[in-house]
Symmetry: C2
């Protein structure tokens, strides 16, 4: 195992591959399941070839940047999810809130259709204008293997999310 | 829907939150399921508070940087997964290979234990030294809702992956 300390510096050259268009423009926490939107690839860098056969998958995994979170709002330690003190104090890496170091979101959504550089999706929890960093196909085998567990507060929070 | 074209520029200030230590050092494609490793948070920026109650989850979702892929090897269009011509030509966003724009990986793994700033995991498909950009808890509700589908080549590729 490597043991030396690495002085971390910014990862260079992460450039959005496109943007989320449509869907919601307000930052609302819940009811994302039926929100339609489009991920439009940057025409300056990509051709439809980059999306070839994407439509052989039913679901996608989208990596995006929570660009509307101001840097000074980023939480480095622990907080109550959504500020709800009925829920326990948990570390920022033990929750999926947007005010997180590096402000990276990862979500699954349903693929509706691909049209040129436009990927039409359903249920992507990212607002209009969100910079998209990656699109991956959802693969069954990337789900947890074996049973998985989460605490009660997460069940409660997610009850109205999708 | 927004329709104007956005000239994309690099996302500033994405700094690894830590590194993968241990596990494999060679870039091998398969058999990741039993590989143990540690994600060590950067002690210059984080305290164990950032991981508070992470151990109430059984599985994590880890976002990382494929730092060993040279920029000139990044694929922008389509290719056969793993260069295997028995499989169809598919766009880079229709596969999960590491030679992708922005070189961002997202994987689920099992949480073994948390010890200070060290997160011990099993089955994380990232080599020793990999910069980690985020850790999120795996939530049941973030899996695809309803049935999902993937093409035959993906089933074949994944047969020996974990």
């Amino acid at each position: 195992m490597t043991t030396e300390t690495v002085a971390e510096s910014a990862v260079e050259g992460i450039i959005p591959i496109g943007r989320v268009l449509g869907g919601r423009s307000e930052l609302i926490d819940d009811d994302w399941g039926d929100v339609p939107s489009v991920i439009r690839l940057d025409a300056a860098r990509f051709t439809p070839e980059a999306l070839l056969a994407l439509d052989t998958f039913s679901h996608l995994e989208v990596v995006f940047h929570f660009h509307r979170v101001p840097p000074e709002k980023i939480e480095q330690g622990a907080r109550h999810p959504r500020g709800n003190t009925d829920w326990p104090l948990v570390g920022i890496f033990a929750q999926r809130g947007k005010n997180r170091p590096n402000r990276i979101g990862v979500s699954r959504c349903q693929l509706v259709k691909v049209d040129g550089l436009d990927v039409h999706v359903l249920g992507l929890d990212a607002v209009d204008g969100t910079p998209v960093l990656d699109i991956k196909p959802y693969l069954t085998e990337f789900a947890p293997r074996g049973p998985h567990a989460q605490p009660a507060w997460a069940d409660e929070l997610m009850r109205t999310y999708y």
